[in-house]
């Protein structure tokens, strides 16, 4: 029996298929954030407690944007087969992502004092930042996976779908934050 | 043949829906326009249903070819026919929606000055009625006939809904909010207000008596309650 083990024959096709799937997943996931942002406005309008640390919010936004830059550099390097540069950049991304999480942690500690989860704004704030932080966390895990030796071998062979997927996901988390930051910290 | 059958059956359906009683006897000013709209909807729906059903049954009987291996005629579509059955339903639903909006306006507030205001509080699993203009609280809803009543509904625990079938209109009572419902009772009698939103264990039994009386009797009742 002639066993066909692939649904397509050449690699490039496979990449395009994967990409469509990933984009669809991102589209779906973005509606999760849309739903929570809707919740924010529905429950709280544009109210915002004065204790909210806008400056810290701004700083972690820039940190996340910077991590996205390094992710971009990592992916581009991987596309050109520059594995050393790829690894440094992805490590930087992971570092900045962790720094972002630390920033969110500081915010949470402040939040528990001034607007605990059992209040209107607290509910919205902890939900929105919580879901986003969960995405950042999974993103970091994913970026760690593409640094594993098995993937390095793949990169050597010129296929970098894993890198592309994880970096796209990382950028998506950044896009979500681009909307969350003004939603939580800036509107009034 | 098809046309004649459709015409006869349609006429029958319309006659039935315009005349038969299929709802409890109306007892509020809001019930009348709603019932009228309901009859119109049923008639139009009935005609459409008859048309499609007759076409379907006719096709099945006349075009049935159990042992035939032939193919049918190659009709792939007809642009004008398709446009027709897109535009006619579109026109119908638009007209109905406009009608609906008109009736909605009809059953809304008319004369705020004359209104009797009642605060309705729902809780698991009973109702409480407060008459702020008279300063009384009651477990039954007693209303003077032909006077608009503005119910201000709220709930203490979960969502309930206020519904007297003879009054037609209903409204949820939502915790943390005050929702309004306007009813003008037009027929003296006693009815029941049911909870119409699943609210837990005893939802099915959650009710309150609603008694519509002449204005004089209402004044009498108010005095009685106060003393």
């Amino acid at each position: 029996m002639n066993m066909v083990t692939s649904i397509t024959t050449d690699w490039e096709d496979r990449g395009a298929i994967n990409r469509v799937g990933l984009w669809l997943f991102i589209l779906s996931d973005s509606f999760l954030f849309i739903a929570i942002i809707f919740t924010r406005f529905y429950l709280q309008g544009v109210q915002r407690p004065s204790e909210l640390n806008q400056l810290l919010g701004f700083v972690i936004s820039v940190v996340l944007l910077l991590s996205s830059l390094f992710a971009y550099r990592g992916e581009t390097a991987a596309a050109y087969g520059d594995i050393r540069r790829f690894r440094y950049n992805i490590l930087a991304t992971i570092g900045l992502g962790s720094l972002f999480l630390v920033g969110v942690g500081v915010e949470w500690a402040e939040g528990f004092r001034f607007f605990p989860p059992s209040t209107g704004f607290g509910t919205v704030f902890f939900t929105l930042t919580g879901f986003h932080a969960f995405h950042v966390f999974t993103g970091i895990l994913g970026l760690l996976l593409i640094l594993l030796p098995g993937q390095k071998k793949r990169l050597g062979e010129g296929s970098y779908w894993g890198v592309e997927a994880m970096v796209k996901y990382w950028h998506f988390v950044d896009v979500a934050w681009v909307f969350i930051f003004p939603t939580l910290y800036l509107v009034s | 043949m098809v046309a004649i059958t459709v015409a006869i059956l349609s006429a029958m359906v319309v006659a039935i829906f315009l005349n038969a009683n299929f709802t409890p006897a109306p007892a509020s000013a809001q019930a009348e326009p709603i019932d009228r709209l309901l009859r119109i909807l049923f008639s139009i729906g009935g005609v459409i249903f008859v048309l499609c059903l007759v076409l379907l049954i006719y096709s099945v009987i006349v075009f049935r070819h159990p042992r035939d291996t032939e193919e049918g005629p190659p009709l792939e579509g007809n642009y004008r026919l398709e446009l027709t059955w897109t535009l006619i339903p579109l026109a119908i639903v638009l007209v109905l929606a406009v009608q609906g909006a008109a009736v909605l306006k009809d059953i809304g507030r008319a004369d705020p000055k004359n209104e009797l205001e009642i605060k309705v509080t729902a809780f698991q699993w009973a109702w409480r009625f407060e008459y702020p203009q008279y300063g009384i609280t009651s477990g039954e809803l007693r209303l003077p006939v032909n006077r608009p009543v503005l119910l201000k509904l709220t709930s203490l625990d979960v969502i309930h809904a206020f519904w007297v079938p003879q009054f037609r209109v209903k409204q949820d009572a939502v915790p943390g909010m005050e929702k309004e419902l306007l009813v003008t009772p037009t027929r003296v009698g006693s009815y029941k207000a049911w909870c119409n939103q699943l609210c837990g264990l005893a939802h099915a039994a959650m009710q309150a008596p609603v008694i519509v009386v002449e204005p004089e009797d209402f004044e009498l009742w108010v005095k009685e309650q106060r003393s």
Partner: protein, 68 residues
């Protein structure tokens, strides 16, 4: 040749990042100084920023462009 392309792309990344950061700064200034009615500007800037990331970092045109 190959590595020059790479350098060009990496520099593009810097430009995009600089733009995004500039947007963030403006957003921050607008958000902290205007107390009322800032949301149209904020949402506009968020959309522009998101578009920049989608376009330059996530290469969304790949979806409808044929592979060259």
């Amino acid at each position: 040749m190959h590595s020059r392309h790479l350098e060009v792309k990496l520099r593009l990344g810097f430009k995009v990042f600089a733009t995004l950061t500039a947007l963030k700064i403006i957003e921050y200034v607008v958000g902290t100084s205007i107390n009322r009615g800032a949301w149209p500007y904020l949402s506009m800037m968020a959309v522009v920023g998101a578009w920049a990331i989608l376009h330059y970092f996530m290469h969304i045109p790949q979806l409808w462009r044929r592979k060259e």
